[in-house]
Symmetry: C2
Subunit: 297 residues, 2 copies
Amino acid sequence: MPSQIAPQNWIAVDWGTSNVRIWLMDAQNEVLGRRASDQGMAGLPSTRFESVFLELAGDFLSPTGKTEVLVCGMAGAAEGWAEAGYLTVPSPPSAQKPAVIPTKDNRLSVRILPGLKQISPADVMRGEETQIAGIMAGAPDFDGVICMPGTHTKWVQVKSGVVEGFKTFMTGELFALLATSSVLRHVIAKSGWDELGFIAGLKTSHLPTSALFSLRADGLIGDMTPEFARAKLSGHLIGAEIDAAKAFWQDQKLIIVGKNDMARAYAKALKLNNAEAELIDGEALVITGLAHARKWS
Amino acid sequence: MPSQIAPQNWIAVDWGTSNVRIWLMDAQNEVLGRRASDQGMAGLPSTRFESVFLELAGDFLSPTGKTEVLVCGMAGAAEGWAEAGYLTVPSPPSAQKPAVIPTKDNRLSVRILPGLKQISPADVMRGEETQIAGIMAGAPDFDGVICMPGTHTKWVQVKSGVVEGFKTFMTGELFALLATSSVLRHVIAKSGWDELGFIAGLKTSHLPTSALFSLRADGLIGDMTPEFARAKLSGHLIGAEIDAAKAFWQDQKLIIVGKNDMARAYAKALKLNNAEAELIDGEALVITGLAHARKWS
């Protein structure tokens, strides 16, 4: 690795709520090295970000001069590394200079990209806007909707390089809370999946709070497996989201960011509603988005 | 208190998931003394119930002979003091002999009332059936619906002394999880209430997962108070429940069990839907229900 370190290298960072991912980039935006940890923004006081970054990627720094570090994600929240503000939609996903962050270590030149906010209905994102910029870099004329499954799933309306509006669903966080911290934890498998359970969950009503307790009761008096229950809970929650997000996906060109199990579950639920989506890997999009933001700034 | 202890006294117990309440009763079913603690079933291994009971209410026992202890609630669950089974609806709320529980202390004669189960859609209750029996004791001809707000709110269809069916909503548990363990904890007051927030919450769509994240965003970019946010979250969840439970409350004679803030919030939400409900204190109902079950058994 040290042989590859050159003054023109830079470092791309996606610092989310629960994870941080770091890439050493060369001047042609090829990835030279990667680091990742679960030291997400949620568990870190502001004062710890710089040292965590140096512990993870100190050897990515240039031996001479400053190394440019461009960050997206929750590190730019008020409780993060430093507040990086928001752009207000309608807006390109990254049209402004990133915030310059003071550091103790003078080998660092750190900037954090702003998030996006929507005034009404009130909504915010941090990190996803960089993946959107990554999509736009490859498809500047994309006119459609981007679905970004995660802890807080985003549905984003995009037209001609501009984010027109978006809506966030707490589906992923609800799933995690219900599966691990509610009375349903007694009947829900920690991992595993039964596709029939997912489809059964999708079929129920748009409101999950009574369907949810049925999972518990079925576990007590029926013979449902924990894997079926897990997939059914996911079906209830994703089904309710798909139902409520209809205005976003109906008759729209549709991209889902991610190729993991969660992204595939969204694709499946949409397909059962006769909506086809293209799945794109999220990591490549973050890197592309950061590289493009770097050019603009 | 000791002067009042007589061989014909008995002890009524409502042992729920998060609390236990104990009443010393005389032969005429007057309450002679009360004990309560937060040592609910959720935190207790089966082997600890007897000693917790004795710590709390050992001085309620008769100095001579056995004292009768009649228990309802989650103490009768498989993970509770001892499994007390279920009656299957349609059924009177307490038509069968309670389960006799062996004890180490031979001054005790403990029995636990069965819960109610519904095969399809699968549902269960433990404890509420005794409050229902309490209502029936005072109104044997009641034909209508009983709404029982709580961690797991129950809507119960009753006719001529028989529970015909019921539906459980996890609204209370969802509220607690979201207010204290989700990203919303940053914007939601630990206590306090703004009635305008509650009404604003009731007005939104039946699906809360996107409305929920709006609370977070409003807290970040708007000027919503934490008390408004708390009441609005409650409005979203109770509103969604009222919406989904319409078949239960529309054109029905309606009783709400409880006179606390949560019960009043349900009454308010129903009133805004032109449904009037009578509020009845829950503690008196448990005691009446246990006293009646004692006679039947």
